[in-house]
Protein backbone atom coordinates (compact mmCIF):
# COMPACT_ATOMS: atom_id res chain seq x y z
CA UNK A 1 0.00 0.00 0.00
CA UNK A 2 2.72 2.47 1.01
CA UNK A 3 4.65 1.37 -2.05
CA UNK A 4 1.65 2.12 -4.22
CA UNK A 5 1.28 5.63 -2.79
CA UNK A 6 4.84 6.81 -2.35
CA UNK A 7 7.04 4.85 -4.73
CA UNK A 8 5.10 3.40 -7.62
CA UNK A 9 3.81 6.69 -9.13
CA UNK A 10 7.35 8.02 -9.37
CA UNK A 11 8.58 4.80 -10.90
CA UNK A 12 5.86 5.20 -13.51
CA UNK A 13 6.88 8.83 -14.13
CA UNK A 14 10.49 7.82 -14.65
CA UNK A 15 9.48 4.86 -16.77
CA UNK A 16 7.40 6.86 -19.26
CA UNK A 17 8.69 10.45 -19.34
CA UNK A 18 6.65 11.26 -22.45
CA UNK A 19 3.46 10.59 -20.49
CA UNK A 20 4.73 12.76 -17.68
CA UNK A 21 5.36 15.63 -20.08
CA UNK A 22 1.89 15.18 -21.52
CA UNK A 23 0.34 15.29 -18.05
CA UNK A 24 2.38 18.33 -17.07
CA UNK A 25 1.39 20.16 -20.25
CA UNK A 26 -2.31 19.48 -19.81
CA UNK A 27 -2.04 20.52 -16.18
CA UNK A 28 -0.29 23.70 -17.20
CA UNK A 29 -3.00 24.64 -19.67
CA UNK A 30 -5.90 24.14 -17.31
CA UNK A 31 -3.80 25.84 -14.65
CA UNK A 32 -3.45 28.92 -16.84
CA UNK A 33 -7.20 29.06 -17.32
CA UNK A 34 -7.89 28.64 -13.60
CA UNK A 35 -5.39 31.42 -13.01
CA UNK A 36 -7.29 33.68 -15.40
CA UNK A 37 -10.57 33.13 -13.58
CA UNK A 38 -8.87 33.69 -10.23
CA UNK A 39 -7.30 36.85 -11.61
CA UNK A 40 -10.77 38.26 -12.22
CA UNK A 41 -11.67 37.65 -8.56
CA UNK A 42 -8.42 39.19 -7.31
CA UNK A 43 -8.78 42.37 -9.40
CA UNK A 44 -12.17 43.14 -7.93
CA UNK A 45 -11.33 42.04 -4.41
CA UNK A 46 -8.22 44.18 -4.23
CA UNK A 47 -9.83 47.36 -5.45
CA UNK A 48 -13.15 47.17 -3.66
CA UNK A 49 -12.96 44.43 -1.04
CA UNK A 50 -15.89 42.70 -2.72
CA UNK A 51 -15.71 38.96 -3.17
CA UNK A 52 -17.37 38.70 -6.55
CA UNK A 53 -19.24 35.42 -6.68
CA UNK A 54 -20.45 36.38 -10.16
CA UNK A 55 -16.96 36.14 -11.70
CA UNK A 56 -17.62 32.54 -12.81
CA UNK A 57 -20.87 33.45 -14.48
CA UNK A 58 -19.27 36.49 -16.09
CA UNK A 59 -17.00 34.04 -17.92
CA UNK A 60 -20.02 32.18 -19.25
CA UNK A 61 -22.03 35.30 -19.93
CA UNK A 62 -19.28 37.01 -21.92
CA UNK A 63 -18.61 33.92 -24.05
CA UNK A 64 -22.34 33.44 -24.56
CA UNK A 65 -22.71 37.06 -25.62
CA UNK A 66 -19.92 36.67 -28.14
CA UNK A 67 -21.31 33.49 -29.69
CA UNK A 68 -24.90 34.66 -29.42
CA UNK A 69 -24.14 37.94 -31.20
CA UNK A 70 -22.31 36.07 -33.92
CA UNK A 71 -25.29 33.75 -34.42
CA UNK A 72 -27.61 36.73 -34.68
CA UNK A 73 -25.30 38.27 -37.29
CA UNK A 74 -25.17 34.97 -39.16
CA UNK A 75 -28.96 34.88 -39.23
CA UNK A 76 -28.79 38.06 -41.32
CA UNK A 77 -26.15 36.55 -43.60
CA UNK A 78 -23.26 38.43 -42.00
CA UNK A 79 -20.70 35.80 -41.08
CA UNK A 80 -17.03 34.98 -41.34
CA UNK A 81 -13.96 36.49 -39.74
CA UNK A 82 -15.11 40.09 -39.87
CA UNK A 83 -18.44 39.29 -38.23
CA UNK A 84 -16.63 37.33 -35.52
CA UNK A 85 -14.40 40.27 -34.67
CA UNK A 86 -17.30 42.71 -34.73
CA UNK A 87 -19.06 40.38 -32.30
CA UNK A 88 -15.91 40.29 -30.16
CA UNK A 89 -15.72 44.08 -30.02
CA UNK A 90 -19.42 44.29 -29.18
CA UNK A 91 -19.01 41.66 -26.45
CA UNK A 92 -16.28 43.85 -24.92
CA UNK A 93 -18.65 46.82 -25.10
CA UNK A 94 -21.33 44.75 -23.37
CA UNK A 95 -18.88 43.93 -20.56
CA UNK A 96 -18.10 47.64 -20.26
CA UNK A 97 -21.76 48.56 -20.01
CA UNK A 98 -22.26 45.76 -17.51
CA UNK A 99 -19.42 47.11 -15.35
CA UNK A 100 -20.88 50.62 -15.36
CA UNK A 101 -24.38 49.36 -14.58
CA UNK A 102 -23.16 47.14 -11.73
CA UNK A 103 -21.23 50.06 -10.23
CA UNK A 104 -24.26 52.35 -10.47
CA UNK A 105 -27.03 49.98 -9.48
CA UNK A 106 -25.36 47.55 -7.09
CA UNK A 107 -22.11 48.87 -5.64
CA UNK A 108 -22.83 52.56 -5.19
CA UNK A 109 -26.03 52.16 -3.14
CA UNK A 110 -24.34 49.53 -0.96
CA UNK A 111 -21.13 51.41 -0.25
CA UNK A 112 -19.98 51.13 3.38
CA UNK A 113 -22.29 48.18 4.00
CA UNK A 114 -20.74 45.08 5.59
CA UNK A 115 -18.79 42.82 3.20
CA UNK A 116 -21.31 40.02 3.49
CA UNK A 117 -24.03 42.26 2.03
CA UNK A 118 -21.95 43.04 -1.03
CA UNK A 119 -21.07 39.37 -1.33
CA UNK A 120 -24.77 38.48 -1.30
CA UNK A 121 -25.39 41.17 -3.88
CA UNK A 122 -22.97 39.42 -6.22
CA UNK A 123 -25.12 36.29 -5.85
CA UNK A 124 -27.93 38.44 -7.13
CA UNK A 125 -25.80 39.55 -10.07
CA UNK A 126 -25.08 35.88 -10.81
CA UNK A 127 -28.74 35.01 -11.19
CA UNK A 128 -29.55 38.14 -13.13
CA UNK A 129 -26.78 37.27 -15.59
CA UNK A 130 -27.93 33.66 -15.93
CA UNK A 131 -31.48 34.82 -16.58
CA UNK A 132 -30.42 37.55 -18.98
CA UNK A 133 -28.12 35.19 -20.92
CA UNK A 134 -30.80 32.53 -21.26
CA UNK A 135 -33.47 35.05 -22.21
CA UNK A 136 -31.46 36.76 -24.93
CA UNK A 137 -29.34 33.95 -26.35
CA UNK A 138 -31.09 30.76 -25.23
CA UNK A 139 -29.88 28.22 -22.68
CA UNK A 140 -28.60 25.43 -24.94
CA UNK A 141 -24.86 24.78 -25.27
CA UNK A 142 -23.19 26.60 -28.16
CA UNK A 143 -20.12 26.02 -30.23
CA UNK A 144 -17.36 28.58 -29.74
CA UNK A 145 -16.58 30.40 -32.98
CA UNK A 146 -12.92 29.44 -32.75
CA UNK A 147 -12.21 29.20 -36.48
CA UNK A 148 -13.85 32.52 -37.22
CA UNK A 149 -11.62 34.16 -34.59
CA UNK A 150 -8.53 32.64 -36.26
CA UNK A 151 -7.92 30.37 -33.29
CA UNK A 152 -6.01 27.32 -34.49
CA UNK A 153 -7.46 23.83 -34.35
CA UNK A 154 -5.82 20.41 -34.44
CA UNK A 155 -2.65 19.41 -32.68
CA UNK A 156 1.08 19.16 -33.02
CA UNK A 157 2.63 15.82 -32.16
CA UNK A 158 6.20 16.03 -31.05
CA UNK A 159 8.40 13.01 -30.75
CA UNK A 160 10.37 13.16 -27.54
CA UNK A 161 11.65 11.01 -24.70
CA UNK A 162 10.86 7.81 -26.49
CA UNK A 163 7.25 8.58 -27.32
CA UNK A 164 4.86 11.12 -28.76
CA UNK A 165 3.55 14.12 -26.89
CA UNK A 166 0.53 15.82 -28.37
CA UNK A 167 0.07 19.58 -28.01
CA UNK A 168 -3.37 20.91 -28.96
CA UNK A 169 -2.87 24.11 -30.95
CA UNK A 170 -5.74 25.79 -29.14
CA UNK A 171 -3.99 25.07 -25.83
CA UNK A 172 -0.81 26.67 -27.07
CA UNK A 173 -2.80 29.69 -28.25
CA UNK A 174 -4.61 29.89 -24.89
CA UNK A 175 -1.34 29.83 -22.96
CA UNK A 176 0.24 32.48 -25.15
CA UNK A 177 -2.79 34.79 -25.11
CA UNK A 178 -3.20 34.39 -21.35
CA UNK A 179 0.47 35.18 -20.76
CA UNK A 180 0.34 38.24 -23.00
CA UNK A 181 -2.79 39.48 -21.25
CA UNK A 182 -1.32 39.01 -17.77
CA UNK A 183 1.87 40.79 -18.84
CA UNK A 184 -0.21 43.60 -20.35
CA UNK A 185 -2.24 44.00 -17.18
CA UNK A 186 0.95 44.04 -15.11
CA UNK A 187 2.40 46.87 -17.21
CA UNK A 188 -0.89 48.75 -17.10
CA UNK A 189 -0.98 48.48 -13.29
CA UNK A 190 2.66 49.47 -12.81
CA UNK A 191 3.16 52.24 -15.30
CA UNK A 192 0.01 54.22 -16.00
CA UNK A 193 -1.96 56.81 -14.11
CA UNK A 194 -5.10 54.69 -13.93
CA UNK A 195 -3.09 51.60 -12.97
CA UNK A 196 -1.50 53.56 -10.15
CA UNK A 197 -4.88 54.87 -9.08
CA UNK A 198 -6.18 51.28 -8.98
CA UNK A 199 -3.33 50.22 -6.74
CA UNK A 200 -3.82 53.29 -4.60
CA UNK A 201 -7.49 52.49 -4.06
CA UNK A 202 -6.54 48.91 -3.16
CA UNK A 203 -4.14 50.23 -0.50
CA UNK A 204 -6.19 52.97 1.14
CA UNK A 205 -9.60 54.32 0.22
CA UNK A 206 -9.18 57.34 2.48
CA UNK A 207 -5.87 58.45 1.02
CA UNK A 208 -7.08 57.80 -2.53
CA UNK A 209 -10.11 60.02 -1.95
CA UNK A 210 -7.93 62.79 -0.54
CA UNK A 211 -5.93 63.08 -3.76
CA UNK A 212 -9.11 63.24 -5.81
CA UNK A 213 -9.41 59.70 -7.12
CA UNK A 214 -13.03 58.85 -7.81
CA UNK A 215 -13.80 55.49 -6.22
CA UNK A 216 -16.85 55.03 -8.43
CA UNK A 217 -14.82 55.43 -11.59
CA UNK A 218 -12.13 53.05 -10.34
CA UNK A 219 -14.70 50.41 -9.43
CA UNK A 220 -16.27 50.59 -12.88
CA UNK A 221 -12.81 50.21 -14.42
CA UNK A 222 -11.86 47.14 -12.35
CA UNK A 223 -15.17 45.47 -13.11
CA UNK A 224 -14.56 46.18 -16.77
CA UNK A 225 -11.03 44.73 -16.50
CA UNK A 226 -12.44 41.67 -14.76
CA UNK A 227 -15.06 41.46 -17.52
CA UNK A 228 -12.38 41.50 -20.23
CA UNK A 229 -10.43 38.81 -18.41
CA UNK A 230 -13.68 36.83 -18.20
CA UNK A 231 -14.26 37.26 -21.93
CA UNK A 232 -10.81 35.93 -22.84
CA UNK A 233 -11.21 33.05 -20.38
CA UNK A 234 -14.64 32.27 -21.80
CA UNK A 235 -13.31 32.12 -25.36
CA UNK A 236 -10.52 29.75 -24.36
CA UNK A 237 -12.66 27.43 -22.25
CA UNK A 238 -15.39 27.57 -24.84
CA UNK A 239 -12.99 26.60 -27.61
CA UNK A 240 -11.81 23.57 -25.63
CA UNK A 241 -15.29 22.28 -24.87
CA UNK A 242 -18.37 24.38 -25.62
CA UNK A 243 -20.17 27.38 -24.25
CA UNK A 244 -22.82 26.48 -21.69
CA UNK A 245 -23.78 27.33 -18.16
CA UNK A 246 -22.03 24.15 -17.03
CA UNK A 247 -18.80 26.15 -17.39
CA UNK A 248 -19.70 27.83 -14.14
CA UNK A 249 -18.80 24.64 -12.26
CA UNK A 250 -15.33 24.86 -13.73
CA UNK A 251 -15.17 28.51 -12.73
CA UNK A 252 -15.76 27.46 -9.14
CA UNK A 253 -12.33 25.80 -9.28
CA UNK A 254 -11.03 29.33 -8.94
CA UNK A 255 -12.03 29.23 -5.27
CA UNK A 256 -9.35 26.70 -4.23
CA UNK A 257 -6.93 28.62 -6.42
CA UNK A 258 -7.71 31.75 -4.42
CA UNK A 259 -7.27 29.92 -1.13
CA UNK A 260 -3.86 28.79 -2.33
CA UNK A 261 -2.68 32.04 -3.78
CA UNK A 262 -4.24 34.47 -1.36
CA UNK A 263 -7.18 36.68 -2.20
CA UNK A 264 -5.18 39.85 -2.67
CA UNK A 265 -2.28 38.69 -4.77
CA UNK A 266 -2.09 38.65 -8.56
CA UNK A 267 1.07 36.51 -8.65
CA UNK A 268 -0.69 34.29 -6.10
CA UNK A 269 -3.60 33.76 -8.48
CA UNK A 270 -1.20 32.72 -11.24
CA UNK A 271 0.95 30.41 -9.13
CA UNK A 272 -2.13 29.00 -7.37
CA UNK A 273 -3.78 28.32 -10.72
CA UNK A 274 -0.74 26.46 -12.01
CA UNK A 275 -0.38 24.40 -8.82
CA UNK A 276 -4.02 23.36 -8.90
CA UNK A 277 -3.98 22.64 -12.64
CA UNK A 278 -0.78 20.62 -12.64
CA UNK A 279 -1.51 19.00 -9.28
CA UNK A 280 -4.89 17.67 -10.29
CA UNK A 281 -3.65 16.31 -13.62
CA UNK A 282 -0.70 14.52 -12.04
CA UNK A 283 -2.95 13.28 -9.25
CA UNK A 284 -5.42 11.94 -11.76
CA UNK A 285 -2.74 10.23 -13.88
CA UNK A 286 -0.67 8.61 -11.18
CA UNK A 287 -2.67 8.42 -7.96
CA UNK A 288 -6.17 8.34 -9.44
CA UNK A 289 -6.20 4.59 -10.20
CA UNK A 290 -5.56 3.83 -6.51
CA UNK A 291 -8.85 5.47 -5.61
CA UNK A 292 -10.78 4.36 -8.64
CA UNK A 293 -10.18 7.52 -10.68
CA UNK A 294 -12.13 10.76 -10.89
CA UNK A 295 -10.04 12.57 -8.32
CA UNK A 296 -9.59 15.53 -10.67
CA UNK A 297 -12.92 16.96 -9.62
CA UNK A 298 -12.13 17.16 -5.90
CA UNK A 299 -8.35 17.22 -5.71
CA UNK A 300 -8.17 21.02 -5.76
CA UNK A 301 -10.54 21.31 -2.84
CA UNK A 302 -8.45 18.96 -0.72
CA UNK A 303 -5.36 21.07 -1.37
CA UNK A 304 -7.39 24.15 -0.45
CA UNK A 305 -8.54 22.49 2.77
CA UNK A 306 -4.96 21.72 3.77
CA UNK A 307 -4.01 25.32 3.11
CA UNK A 308 -6.93 26.58 5.18
CA UNK A 309 -5.71 24.46 8.06
CA UNK A 310 -2.05 25.40 7.97
CA UNK A 311 -1.68 28.63 6.00
CA UNK A 312 -5.04 30.40 5.81
CA UNK A 313 -3.64 33.56 4.20
CA UNK A 314 -2.44 31.53 1.18
CA UNK A 315 0.99 31.59 -0.41
CA UNK A 316 1.16 35.31 -1.16
CA UNK A 317 -1.81 36.80 0.66
CA UNK A 318 -1.67 39.43 3.36
CA UNK A 319 -1.43 37.95 6.81
CA UNK A 320 -4.13 39.62 8.81
CA UNK A 321 -3.10 40.26 12.37
CA UNK A 322 -5.93 41.56 14.44
CA UNK A 323 -5.41 43.43 17.61
CA UNK A 324 -7.53 42.25 20.52
Amino acid sequence: MLYNVFIDPFVQMAGAPDLLVQALWEGLVSGVLYALIALGFVLIFKASGVFNFAQGIMVVFSALTLVGLYEKFAAFGFSGHLAAYVALALAAVVMFVLAVVIERVVLRPLVNQPDIILFMATFGITYVLIGLGEMVFGGDPKQMIADELFLPGGSIDVEMLGGFVSFQKIDIAATVIASVMIAGLAVFFQKTRIGRALRAVADSHKAALSVGISLNQIWAIVWFAAGLVALVTGIMWGARSNVSFALEIVALKALPVLVLGGLTSVPGAIVGGLIVGIGEKLGEFYWGPLLGGGIESWFAYVIALLFLLYRPQGLFGDKIIERI
Binding site: R193, I194, R199, A200, A208, L209, S210, V211, G212
Partner: protein, 273 residues
Protein backbone atom coordinates in the same frame (compact mmCIF):
# COMPACT_ATOMS: atom_id res chain seq x y z
CA UNK B 1 3.69 87.51 8.99
CA UNK B 2 1.52 87.49 5.91
CA UNK B 3 0.48 90.69 4.33
CA UNK B 4 -2.42 89.34 2.27
CA UNK B 5 -5.78 89.32 3.97
CA UNK B 6 -8.12 87.94 1.32
CA UNK B 7 -10.25 85.10 2.70
CA UNK B 8 -9.59 81.73 1.04
CA UNK B 9 -11.93 79.61 3.09
CA UNK B 10 -14.47 80.30 5.75
CA UNK B 11 -16.72 78.01 7.72
CA UNK B 12 -19.84 79.48 9.30
CA UNK B 13 -21.85 77.88 12.07
CA UNK B 14 -20.71 74.36 11.22
CA UNK B 15 -22.17 71.59 13.37
CA UNK B 16 -21.50 67.90 13.04
CA UNK B 17 -22.86 65.04 15.09
CA UNK B 18 -22.54 61.29 14.98
CA UNK B 19 -25.80 59.92 16.31
CA UNK B 20 -26.13 61.62 19.69
CA UNK B 21 -22.51 62.68 19.93
CA UNK B 22 -21.83 66.27 18.97
CA UNK B 23 -18.36 66.50 17.48
CA UNK B 24 -18.58 70.13 16.38
CA UNK B 25 -21.17 72.68 17.43
CA UNK B 26 -21.62 75.96 15.63
CA UNK B 27 -17.99 76.70 14.83
CA UNK B 28 -17.06 79.61 12.56
CA UNK B 29 -13.62 80.74 11.46
CA UNK B 30 -11.80 81.75 8.34
CA UNK B 31 -8.50 81.04 6.67
CA UNK B 32 -6.82 83.87 4.79
CA UNK B 33 -4.87 83.44 1.62
CA UNK B 34 -1.18 82.83 2.28
CA UNK B 35 -1.32 82.38 6.03
CA UNK B 36 -0.47 79.48 8.30
CA UNK B 37 -3.49 78.83 10.43
CA UNK B 38 -3.27 76.49 13.41
CA UNK B 39 -6.16 74.58 14.92
CA UNK B 40 -5.44 73.47 18.45
CA UNK B 41 -7.37 72.00 21.35
CA UNK B 42 -7.39 69.07 23.76
CA UNK B 43 -8.04 65.53 22.52
CA UNK B 44 -11.56 65.03 21.25
CA UNK B 45 -12.08 68.75 20.64
CA UNK B 46 -13.17 68.14 17.04
CA UNK B 47 -10.03 69.28 15.23
CA UNK B 48 -9.71 66.32 12.86
CA UNK B 49 -13.47 66.34 12.33
CA UNK B 50 -13.13 69.95 11.21
CA UNK B 51 -10.49 69.02 8.62
CA UNK B 52 -12.73 66.19 7.46
CA UNK B 53 -15.55 68.67 6.97
CA UNK B 54 -13.30 70.99 4.99
CA UNK B 55 -12.16 68.33 2.55
CA UNK B 56 -15.55 66.66 2.33
CA UNK B 57 -15.02 63.39 4.20
CA UNK B 58 -17.74 64.44 6.63
CA UNK B 59 -20.87 66.34 5.72
CA UNK B 60 -21.88 68.83 8.39
CA UNK B 61 -25.44 68.78 9.72
CA UNK B 62 -25.56 72.55 9.74
CA UNK B 63 -23.55 75.46 8.52
CA UNK B 64 -21.87 76.66 5.37
CA UNK B 65 -18.45 76.39 3.86
CA UNK B 66 -17.20 79.12 1.53
CA UNK B 67 -14.14 78.24 -0.50
CA UNK B 68 -12.75 80.51 -3.21
CA UNK B 69 -15.93 82.55 -3.08
CA UNK B 70 -18.29 79.63 -3.58
CA UNK B 71 -20.64 78.83 -0.72
CA UNK B 72 -21.80 75.28 -0.12
CA UNK B 73 -23.47 73.35 2.65
CA UNK B 74 -20.88 70.61 2.21
CA UNK B 75 -17.77 69.64 0.30
CA UNK B 76 -17.09 66.42 -1.57
CA UNK B 77 -13.64 64.83 -1.50
CA UNK B 78 -13.31 64.80 -5.27
CA UNK B 79 -14.38 68.43 -5.61
CA UNK B 80 -12.16 69.51 -2.73
CA UNK B 81 -9.17 67.82 -4.34
CA UNK B 82 -9.88 69.17 -7.81
CA UNK B 83 -10.24 72.71 -6.45
CA UNK B 84 -6.88 72.56 -4.75
CA UNK B 85 -7.39 71.26 -1.21
CA UNK B 86 -4.76 68.67 -0.27
CA UNK B 87 -4.26 67.04 3.09
CA UNK B 88 -2.25 64.67 5.23
CA UNK B 89 -3.57 62.41 7.96
CA UNK B 90 -3.00 62.00 11.65
CA UNK B 91 -2.00 58.34 11.33
CA UNK B 92 -0.21 58.50 7.97
CA UNK B 93 -2.46 57.22 5.17
CA UNK B 94 -0.05 56.16 2.44
CA UNK B 95 -0.27 53.48 -0.21
CA UNK B 96 1.93 51.12 1.74
CA UNK B 97 2.73 48.62 -0.98
CA UNK B 98 3.81 51.29 -3.46
CA UNK B 99 7.16 53.07 -3.75
CA UNK B 100 7.79 56.64 -2.64
CA UNK B 101 7.85 57.68 -6.27
CA UNK B 102 4.52 56.01 -7.05
CA UNK B 103 2.91 57.43 -3.93
CA UNK B 104 3.82 60.95 -4.96
CA UNK B 105 2.86 60.26 -8.59
CA UNK B 106 -0.61 59.33 -7.37
CA UNK B 107 -0.81 62.89 -6.09
CA UNK B 108 -0.63 64.00 -9.74
CA UNK B 109 -3.70 61.95 -10.70
CA UNK B 110 -5.97 64.93 -11.15
CA UNK B 111 -3.36 66.81 -13.16
CA UNK B 112 -3.10 64.03 -15.72
CA UNK B 113 -5.79 64.06 -18.31
CA UNK B 114 -5.34 61.21 -20.79
CA UNK B 115 -8.26 58.81 -20.60
CA UNK B 116 -8.55 55.06 -20.34
CA UNK B 117 -8.07 54.55 -24.08
CA UNK B 118 -4.66 56.24 -24.26
CA UNK B 119 -3.65 54.70 -20.96
CA UNK B 120 -4.29 51.25 -22.36
CA UNK B 121 -2.12 52.03 -25.38
CA UNK B 122 0.41 53.54 -22.99
CA UNK B 123 2.71 54.87 -25.71
CA UNK B 124 2.27 58.20 -27.42
CA UNK B 125 0.40 60.96 -25.58
CA UNK B 126 0.03 59.04 -22.34
CA UNK B 127 3.77 58.40 -22.25
CA UNK B 128 4.65 62.06 -22.87
CA UNK B 129 2.28 63.08 -20.11
CA UNK B 130 3.84 60.54 -17.78
CA UNK B 131 7.33 61.94 -18.37
CA UNK B 132 6.23 65.53 -17.85
CA UNK B 133 4.63 64.73 -14.50
CA UNK B 134 7.50 62.56 -13.42
CA UNK B 135 9.67 65.69 -13.71
CA UNK B 136 7.39 67.61 -11.35
CA UNK B 137 7.51 64.72 -8.89
CA UNK B 138 11.31 64.62 -8.99
CA UNK B 139 11.34 68.31 -8.04
CA UNK B 140 9.24 67.54 -4.99
CA UNK B 141 11.53 64.64 -4.09
CA UNK B 142 14.51 67.00 -4.28
CA UNK B 143 12.71 69.61 -2.21
CA UNK B 144 11.96 67.12 0.57
CA UNK B 145 15.41 65.50 0.32
CA UNK B 146 14.10 61.98 -0.06
CA UNK B 147 16.07 61.01 -3.18
CA UNK B 148 17.58 57.95 -1.53
CA UNK B 149 14.20 56.33 -0.79
CA UNK B 150 12.68 57.00 -4.22
CA UNK B 151 12.18 53.32 -5.02
CA UNK B 152 11.51 51.99 -1.52
CA UNK B 153 8.02 50.71 -0.72
CA UNK B 154 6.75 53.20 1.85
CA UNK B 155 5.51 50.50 4.21
CA UNK B 156 9.17 49.81 5.04
CA UNK B 157 10.13 53.40 5.82
CA UNK B 158 10.47 54.76 9.34
CA UNK B 159 7.57 56.85 10.58
CA UNK B 160 9.24 60.23 10.18
CA UNK B 161 10.01 59.58 6.53
CA UNK B 162 6.50 58.29 5.91
CA UNK B 163 5.17 61.60 7.14
CA UNK B 164 7.50 63.36 4.73
CA UNK B 165 6.35 61.22 1.79
CA UNK B 166 2.77 61.97 2.71
CA UNK B 167 3.57 65.68 2.62
CA UNK B 168 5.17 65.09 -0.78
CA UNK B 169 2.03 63.46 -2.10
CA UNK B 170 -0.04 66.42 -0.93
CA UNK B 171 2.43 68.87 -2.51
CA UNK B 172 2.25 66.97 -5.80
CA UNK B 173 -1.33 68.19 -6.08
CA UNK B 174 0.01 71.77 -6.16
CA UNK B 175 -2.64 72.72 -3.62
CA UNK B 176 -3.94 76.18 -2.82
CA UNK B 177 -4.90 75.03 0.65
CA UNK B 178 -2.89 72.39 2.48
CA UNK B 179 -4.44 70.69 5.51
CA UNK B 180 -1.93 69.04 7.84
CA UNK B 181 -3.24 66.81 10.60
CA UNK B 182 -0.56 66.61 13.29
CA UNK B 183 2.38 66.68 10.86
CA UNK B 184 4.88 66.29 13.70
CA UNK B 185 3.18 63.72 15.90
CA UNK B 186 5.54 61.01 17.08
CA UNK B 187 8.66 62.70 15.72
CA UNK B 188 11.91 63.41 17.50
CA UNK B 189 13.35 66.91 17.82
CA UNK B 190 15.42 66.86 14.60
CA UNK B 191 12.54 65.47 12.57
CA UNK B 192 10.25 68.12 13.98
CA UNK B 193 12.71 70.85 13.06
CA UNK B 194 12.99 69.48 9.53
CA UNK B 195 9.22 69.33 9.17
CA UNK B 196 8.85 72.90 10.48
CA UNK B 197 11.33 74.08 7.89
CA UNK B 198 9.48 72.32 5.07
CA UNK B 199 6.17 73.78 6.18
CA UNK B 200 7.61 77.29 6.30
CA UNK B 201 9.32 76.81 2.93
CA UNK B 202 6.12 75.58 1.31
CA UNK B 203 4.30 78.57 2.68
CA UNK B 204 6.97 81.09 1.60
CA UNK B 205 8.17 79.65 -1.70
CA UNK B 206 4.92 78.37 -3.17
CA UNK B 207 2.61 80.76 -1.34
CA UNK B 208 0.50 77.80 -0.22
CA UNK B 209 -2.06 78.50 2.47
CA UNK B 210 -1.72 76.01 5.30
CA UNK B 211 -4.09 74.90 8.04
CA UNK B 212 -2.51 72.62 10.57
CA UNK B 213 -3.46 70.75 13.69
CA UNK B 214 -0.63 70.39 16.16
CA UNK B 215 -0.26 69.50 19.82
CA UNK B 216 3.23 70.87 20.32
CA UNK B 217 2.42 74.39 21.49
CA UNK B 218 5.96 75.60 20.90
CA UNK B 219 5.72 74.62 17.25
CA UNK B 220 2.30 76.22 16.89
CA UNK B 221 3.52 79.51 18.36
CA UNK B 222 6.56 79.57 16.07
CA UNK B 223 4.84 78.58 12.85
CA UNK B 224 1.39 80.03 12.78
CA UNK B 225 0.04 83.45 11.92
CA UNK B 226 -3.28 82.86 13.65
CA UNK B 227 -4.64 80.17 15.93
CA UNK B 228 -8.15 78.87 16.51
CA UNK B 229 -8.78 76.90 19.70
CA UNK B 230 -11.49 74.24 19.96
CA UNK B 231 -12.75 72.47 23.04
CA UNK B 232 -15.54 69.88 23.10
CA UNK B 233 -16.58 70.96 19.63
CA UNK B 234 -16.89 74.66 20.51
CA UNK B 235 -14.59 77.46 19.47
CA UNK B 236 -13.18 79.06 22.60
CA UNK B 237 -10.56 81.40 21.15
CA UNK B 238 -9.31 82.76 17.85
CA UNK B 239 -6.44 85.14 17.20
CA UNK B 240 -2.69 85.60 17.08
CA UNK B 241 -0.56 83.08 18.97
CA UNK B 242 0.26 85.61 21.69
CA UNK B 243 -3.36 86.60 22.21
CA UNK B 244 -4.47 83.00 22.37
CA UNK B 245 -1.71 82.02 24.76
CA UNK B 246 -2.87 84.53 27.35
CA UNK B 247 -6.59 83.86 26.89
CA UNK B 248 -8.09 82.70 30.18
CA UNK B 249 -10.45 80.17 28.55
CA UNK B 250 -7.56 78.56 26.72
CA UNK B 251 -5.47 78.30 29.85
CA UNK B 252 -8.45 76.76 31.60
CA UNK B 253 -8.99 74.23 28.80
CA UNK B 254 -5.38 73.15 28.82
CA UNK B 255 -4.47 73.39 32.48
CA UNK B 256 -7.87 72.87 34.04
CA UNK B 257 -9.11 75.06 36.89
CA UNK B 258 -8.10 74.47 40.44
CA UNK B 259 -10.95 72.19 41.47
CA UNK B 260 -10.73 69.96 38.35
CA UNK B 261 -7.36 68.69 39.44
CA UNK B 262 -6.54 65.67 37.28
CA UNK B 263 -8.59 66.35 34.19
CA UNK B 264 -6.04 67.95 31.93
CA UNK B 265 -2.74 66.70 33.22
CA UNK B 266 -1.82 65.27 29.80
CA UNK B 267 -2.11 68.38 27.66
CA UNK B 268 -0.62 70.44 30.50
CA UNK B 269 2.66 68.69 30.05
CA UNK B 270 2.62 69.60 26.39
CA UNK B 271 2.06 73.24 27.18
CA UNK B 272 5.07 73.17 29.41
CA UNK B 273 7.18 71.50 26.71
Amino acid sequence: MSGASETLLSVEGVSLSFGGVKAISGVSFDIRKGEIRAIIGPNGAGKTSMLNVINGFYHPNQGRITYKGQTRSRMRPYRAASQGIARTFQNVALFRGMTTLDNIMVGRTLKMQRGLFWQMLRFGPAMREEIEHRRAVEDIIDFLQIEQIRKTPVGRLPYGLQKRVELGRALAMEPDLLLLDEPMAGMNIEEKEDMCRYILDVNKEFGTTIALIEHDIGVVMDLSDRVVVLEYGHKIADGTPDAVKSDSKVIEAYLGVAHQDDKASGPAREVAA
